[in-house]
C-alpha cells in the first residue's frame, strides 16, 4: 500500500516536472516589483568574493566622534559578516554568500585570519558559549565543541536542530544567531521573498534549547539579521528589514523590542506599525499588530546590533545600541553605510539616534555608492567596538583615542 502511494506520488511529481514553465522566473530580489517600476535599474550590490586589501581602500575617510579613533583591525576575510568572541580571544566571523567561517587570532598585536570551516550553507549566524561555537546555516544549527583548542583541526559538526528550511526558500534564508539570558539560541527564519505570504515558521524569530526543541518568539518579522538582549532588562531587541519596491521613503526598516512572547510585528500585512501593505494590507488592520520602537530609515538595511556594556567608552554610552547599517540598494538616493548609535532613556524609549561611524558612502547617487558596508558590530573585552565590512572582508576597531 505504502509502495503504491509512493509510486503514485512519484508519477505525479514526474508529470509535474515535465511541464515546461512558459517563461523564466525573475531573480528573487525582484519579487514584488510593480509594473510601474519595470524600467527601474535599481539592483543589489555584489560583495567582493575575493575581498579587497585595506591599502587599496580609502580607509582614511572613515569618521568617528571626537575622542574616538577607528583603525583596520584584521583583513583577508572576504564576505565577513557576523562576529562572535571566544573565551581565549578568538574572533569568529561568519559569511553569507561564501561557505566559510573564519577564525582571527591576535598574537602579540598582529591579527591572523584563517578559514576555520569550509563548505557550509550560508553560515551567517555565530554564537560562542562555554567553549562551543554554534553556527546557524540555511537549514540547520550546529555545534563545534571545544573549538578554541582545535582551531587547526576543528571537530565534526554536531547538529542541534535541522530542517529549518524544508522548502529551500529563495528569499531570506540566512540566519542570525544570538545567545539568550535563558541559555537558548535565538534566530530568524526570514520571509521567503520580498513581499509574500509566509508559510509556517517563516517570517519569525525562533529560539531553540540545547535539546533541539523549538519555540516561536515573535511573528510578522520579515527578516531580522541582528539581535541582542538589553543588559539590564534582559529583553530581546532586534533589527528588521522592511519590504522593497514601494518607494524611496517607505516603509522604514525598524528596531523592535520584545516585551512579551508571541508578539506579531505585522508582516506581510502591515509595515512599520502604521503602513498597510498595498497587496496584503486590506486583509488586516495595523492596529492589531505590535509597533516598532524606532523607525530607522527606508532601505537603510540594519544588520548587526549590540548593546554597549563595555568599560572603554564614556559613561553616556552605557546601554546604548550600536547598529551596523549595510545601506540601500532599492532606493534612488542611497542611505546607510554607517554605524548608528541609539540612546535609550530609563524607560527604554529612544532619546537619540545619530551616526557613530561614517565615511563608507561616497556618492549617494552613484552605482555603487560606497566602498564598504558595515555588517555587524561586537563589543570586545577591552570595551572597544569591532565593525565587520562584508564588501571587502575587513574588521575595523573603534576605541577611545588616548
Amino acid at each position: 500500500m505504502r509502495a503504491a502511494v509512493a509510486a503514485a506520488l512519484l508519477a505525479a511529481f514526474a508529470a509535474h516536472a515535465q511541464d515546461k514553465p512558459a517563461a523564466s522566473p525573475p531573480p528573487s530580489w525582484q519579487q514584488g516589483k510593480p509594473p510601474a517600476l519595470s524600467e527601474s535599474t535599481l539592483h543589489p550590490f555584489a560583495i567582493e568574493l575575493t575581498g579587497k586589501a585595506a591599502k587599496d581602500l580609502p580607509v582614511d575617510k572613515l569618521k568617528v566622534p571626537a575622542g574616538f579613533k577607528v583603525e583596520v583591525w584584521a583583513e583577508g576575510m572576504p564576505g565577513a559578516r557576523t562576529m562572535a568572541l571566544g573565551d581565549k580571544g578568538t574572533v569568529f566571523v561568519g559569511t553569507r554568500q561564501l561557505k566559510d567561517v573564519y577564525a582571527v587570532r591576535d598574537s602579540g598585536g598582529k591579527r591572523e585570519a584563517k578559514v576555520l570551516l569550509k563548505g557550509l550553507d550560508a553560515p551567517n549566524g555565530l554564537v560562542f558559549n562555554k567553549g562551543t561555537l554554534f553556527v546557524a546555516e540555511r537549514g540547520r544549527i550546529t555545534r563545534y565543541d571545544n573549538i578554541e583548542a582545535n582551531l587547526d583541526n576543528p571537530p565534526q559538526a554536531k547538529v542541534l536542530v535541522d530542517n529549518l528550511d524544508p522548502n529551500n526558500q529563495p528569499g531570506h534564508f540566512w540566519k542570525f544567531l544570538a545567545l539568550g539570558p535563558d541559555g537558548k539560541l535565538y534566530f530568524n527564519i526570514g520571509a521567503p521573498g520580498n513581499i509574500v505570504m509566509p508559510t509556517y515558521m517563516e517570517a519569525s524569530i525562533m529560539r531553540v534549547d540545547m535539546k533541539g526543541t523549538l519555540e516561536t518568539v515573535a511573528l510578522g518579522v520579515r527578516n531580522s539579521v541582528g539581535m541582542d538582549f538589553h543588559p539590564k532588562t534582559k529583553e530581546l531587541w532586534f533589527t528588521n528589514h522592511a519590504r522593497d519596491w514601494l518607494s524611496d521613503e517607505l516603509p522604514n526598516d525598524t528596531l523592535h523590542r520584545v516585551s512579551r512572547k508571541g508578539m506579531h510585528f505585522g508582516y506581510p500585512f502591515c509595515h512599520q506599525g502604521d503602513t498597510p501593505d498595498p497587496q496584503f494590507g486590506k486583509q488586516r488592520s495595523c492596529k492589531e499588530f505590535d509597533a516598532p520602537t524606532l523607525k530607522l530609515g527606508a532601505h537603510i538595511a540594519p544588520i548587526g546590533m549590540r548593546f554597549y556594556s563595555g568599560k572603554m567608552f564614556p559613561a553616556e554610552y552605557q546601554n546604548n545600541i550600536f547598529i551596523a547599517m549595510r545601506g540601500s540598494w532599492n532606493r534612488t538616493v542611497k542611505q546607510g553605510y554607517n554605524v548608528m548609535r541609539v540612546v535609550l532613556d530609563e524607560n527604554g524609549k529612544v532619546a537619540k539616534y545619530e551616526p557613530f561611524l561614517t565615511g563608507f558612502l561616497v556618492n549617494e547617487k552613484a552605482d555603487p555608492p560606497m566602498w564598504g558596508r558595515p555588517n555587524d558590530v561586537m563589543v570586545m573585552r577591552d570595551g572597544s567596538l569591532l565593525v565587520s565590512d562584508d564588501q571587502n572582508g575587513i574588521l575595523f576597531r573603534i576605541s577611545t583615542a588616548k
Binding site: 515546461k20 512558459a22 523564466s24 531573480p27 539592483h43 568574493l49 579587497k52 554568500q97
Partner: protein
C-alpha cells in the same frame, strides 16, 4: 598563460572559449574564485585557478576588465537577430545582464560572447550542471527549449557593444 586560450588581451578567437576583455571586474574575480573553490568546474580552468591567491584574482580581474572588447566576428542569422530581443525579455536575461546585455558587477557581459561558449553554458545551466552561487541562472534556464538556446546564443554572439 591566459592568452593561450582566451586570446590576445582577452579577446578570444576560439568559439568555445569565452572572451574576457571588457567583462565586469567582479564577474572575472567571482568566476576565478568559483573555479578555485570548486564551485564551478572545468578541466582547464580548475587547475589554473587552484594556484591563485585572492590578490592574483583581483589583479587578473582588473586587467581583463580594462581591456577593450573586439567587435564580434559572429553574424547572427537575420531570423535569430530579429527574434532574439523578445526572447531575451521573455526569459528575463535583461533583468540582470542589463538592457544591452553588457553585464554589471558579478554578472557577465553577454553581448558578442563566443557562440559555442554561450550555447554550452545555457545547456549546462538547464541541465543543472553549471555551478553558480545564487541559483538564478539554473532557475532561469529551466524554461528554455533547445530551439530557444540556439536562437539566443546566435543572437547574443552577434551583438556588438
Amino acid at each position: 598563460m591566459c592568452a593561450a586560450c582566451h586570446g590576445e588581451a582577452g579577446n578570444s578567437a576560439n568559439p568555445a572559449v569565452p572572451s574576457l576583455a571588457g567583462q565586469p571586474r567582479q564577474f572575472i574575480s567571482t568566476s576565478l574564485y568559483m573555479f578555485r573553490e570548486g564551485y564551478r568546474k572545468d578541466p582547464q580552468m580548475s587547475p589554473m585557478a587552484a594556484m591563485l591567491s585572492n590578490a592574483d584574482l583581483n589583479d587578473l580581474a582588473a586587467y581583463f576588465s580594462s581591456q577593450k572588447p573586439a567587435p564580434p566576428r559572429h553574424r547572427a542569422s537575420a531570423e535569430n537577430a530579429a527574434a532574439g530581443p523578445a526572447l531575451a525579455q521573455k526569459f528575463n536575461c535583461t533583468q540582470c545582464h542589463g538592457p544591452r546585455l553588457l553585464g554589471q558587477q558579478q554578472i557577465p557581459r553577454l553581448a558578442g560572447q563566443q557562440l559555442e561558449y554561450l550555447r554550452g553554458q545555457l545547456r549546462a545551466f538547464k541541465a543543472g550542471k553549471r555551478g553558480e552561487l545564487d541559483g538564478n541562472m539554473t532557475a532561469a534556464a529551466q524554461a528554455l527549449t533547445d530551439k530557444d538556446i540556439e536562437v539566443l546564443a546566435d543572437y547574443i554572439a552577434g551583438l556588438g557593444g
